[in-house]
């Protein structure tokens, strides 16, 4: 980060593309060039962008699985405790531990545990809610939720060099390249 002492600090460089294909292509090129600290912005999900960015497998499925298992165990334990230990009732001569009746509640709490942990896990991993991000300061960025596709190479990248990176991005045929203030 030696360059940041000699020039005004930037968050990164934002390249604007007109098509999803252009964004995916540029992202692949940037990754081949050795850039790692970058992010892409698009109005809708683009399937191959995930691989182009080299993102690791999301941890959300694992968190969801654990939440679901805990929810299921909790639901069954609640049923068992209330029906067989705390308040045993003789219903039509059935055993207190009448497991088929416990399954619907176990199923529901499994879904609840999985859904809640999925939601909370996704927010936590994305550090949401995040009311402000430096890219919002770029005047062109409002079109990221409409009809433009952006690639931002961030200044924290070891290979980031303000002028060389800007030249590199210009070579990818973007609509334009903008500096993003921190």
């Amino acid at each position: 980060m030696a360059h940041s002492e000699t020039s005004p600090a930037v968050h990164g460089l934002l390249a604007e593309f007109a098509t999803p294909g252009g964004l995916v292509h540029a992202t692949e090129k940037a990754r081949l060039e050795g850039y790692r600290h970058m992010d892409a912005y698009s109005p809708f999900p683009i399937e191959h962008l995930h691989e182009a960015l080299g993102l690791r497998r999301s941890k959300v499925p694992l968190i969801t699985l654990v939440g679901g298992i805990l929810g299921g165990i909790g639901g069954y334990a609640l049923e068992y405790w209330s029906q067989a230990i705390a308040y045993p009732l003789n219903i039509g001569g059935r055993p207190y531990h009448s497991w088929p009746h416990f399954i619907p509640v176990t199923f529901e709490t499994t879904v609840l545990g999985a859904a809640l942990s999925c939601f909370v896990g996704m927010w936590a991993l994305n550090r949401l809610p995040q009311p402000y991000h430096p890219v919002f300061g770029a005047p062109v960025f409002d079109r990221a939720s409409r009809d433009r596709f952006f690639l931002c190479i961030e200044a924290t990248d070891p290979k980031f060099e303000r002028y060389a990176t800007a030249r590199f991005l210009e070579g990818l045929h973007p609509v334009g390249v903008t500096e993003v203030a921190p």
Binding site: P20, F44, P45, I46, E47, H48, P61, L65, G92, P100, H101, I103, P104
Partner: protein
């Protein structure tokens, strides 16, 4: 067009499995004829179980074909496999004849003396009588064959460039799904539930149709893994397509378990004399181990395996889950039918006089009948598959889905 090679023509290699299937079918058929002569009652029961398995693949494929016409998406690459499966239905109508011949063995309500002394059967005779049974079967098959035939014919016109069928094919798929589900529900009542003529369950038709989904998807995965080895499908079928079928398999495995458990829990909770014998028969006399086997291998194990994204995207691993599921489907249908029959004589327990408990058994015809029907069915499937291009290349929706990178 006449001089140009047909695009996506089926590979010559499918002649191999086609002729081998015919051989297996004929050997199985010879065994079944021997069984028919020496052990007639067991033959009819075994035939019914095997028949229901392959009918389920054909009908389930027709159902998935119609869902695909309605939903669109890249999993339309499997359309020609679904179409070929559903065009085996005329053969299945023919193979239904042994069931008709075996009605006296299979269905107690066909015996007038039984009906006369049983008040419940007297009341049900207005529905459960031979004439109406055959008339209903005729309507099911006529409807199913007409739907399958029309869907294929319109799809062929699409191949020839006629785009006027694009919308009618979707209307037919919508109406056809309604007919298929209703007819299959009635068929489940007629052909399986009425084996025990006192028992009834309103969820039974859903369990039957849900099972068709598992069977049809498993068969499609197995065949498509085979087709992916050869041109032209080796460049068309991608991991994402198998991923789609794997996800649908997971959904149908869960649906099957959900319907079955719902039926079990409702009967268990109500504990009524007219419903509970069905489950007592299947949780005693050794059948309980088979019941546990089905819970583990038609739900728990495939459910956990199919959760894995990697497995669903690797056809060579997914195909083993699917092949195992087809085997388990046969055991599931065996479990629906066999516990109502006597192990030694093969007679329906509800026809025999006196007290009879059901004991677990398996008969050699339970192996021969699936080989006979399965061999003939697979032969007919490949015969049908060989007649059409392997991709519905002219369908504008499918082309669109294949060209856009994010489409499913």
């Amino acid at each position: 067009m006449a001089d140009m090679p047909t695009p996506y023509a089926p590979p010559a290699e499918i002649e191999g499995p086609r002729s081998r299937a015919l051989l297996v079918g004929l050997v199985g058929l010879a065994a079944c004829v021997a069984g028919f002569i020496v052990d007639r009652d067991h033959f009819f029961r075994s035939w019914l179980v095997a028949y229901l398995l392959f009918l389920g693949i054909a009908l389930g494929s027709m159902g998935l074909l119609m869902i695909q016409h309605l939903s669109g998406g890249a999993w339309g690459v499997f359309r020609r496999v679904f179409e070929a499966s559903s065009r085996t239905l005329p053969l299945m109508a023919l193979l239904f004849l042994p069931v008709v011949l075996g009605m006296g063995t299979l269905y107690p309500w066909t015996h007038p003396d039984q009906v006369a002394q049983d008040e419940v059967l007297r009341h049900r005779a207005i529905y459960l009588n031979t004439g109406f049974f055959l008339a209903r079967a005729f309507v099911y098959f006529a409807g199913w064959i007409l739907i399958a035939w029309t869907l294929t014919r319109w799809s062929r016109r699409q191949d020839a460039g006629d785009m006027r069928v694009n919308l009618p094919i979707q209307y037919l798929a919508g109406g056809g799904l309604v007919f298929y589900t209703f007819a299959a529900t009635f068929a489940a009542v007629d052909w399986i539930m009425s084996i025990n003529p006192h028992w009834y369950s309103t969820l039974f038709g859903f369990i039957f149709v849900g099972g068709h989904g598992i069977s049809a998807l498993s068969f499609t995965i197995v065949v498509s893994t085979l087709l992916a080895r050869w041109a032209p499908m080796d460049t068309v079928l991608k991991p994402s397509h198998f991923h789609d079928l794997g996800k649908l398999s997971l959904a149908f495995v869960m649906l099957w378990a959900y319907f079955n458990f719902s039926q079990y829990m409702l009967v268990y909770a109500a504990n009524l004399v007219e419903e509970i014998p069905y489950f007592i028969a299947r949780t005693s006399g050794g059948w309980q181990y088979l019941a546990l086997f089905l819970v583990v291998f038609q739900f728990a194990v495939p459910f956990l395996l199919l959760l894995s994204r990697d497995l669903k995207r690797m056809p060579l691993r997914l195909v083993w889950v699917s092949a195992a599921l087809l085997l388990v489907r046969d055991i599931d249908l065996f479990m629906l039918v066999a516990p109502e029959f006597d192990a030694a004589s093969g007679a329906n327990l509800h026809v025999l006089t006196g007290e009879h408990a059901s004991h677990v058994f398996v008969h050699w015809l339970d192996l021969a009948a699936p080989l006979a029907i399965g061999g003939l069915w697979v032969w007919m499937f490949f015969t049908q598959l060989a007649q059409r291009p392997l991709l519905a290349f002219a369908d504008p929706y499918l082309r669109n889905a294949l060209e856009s990178p994010g489409g499913h």
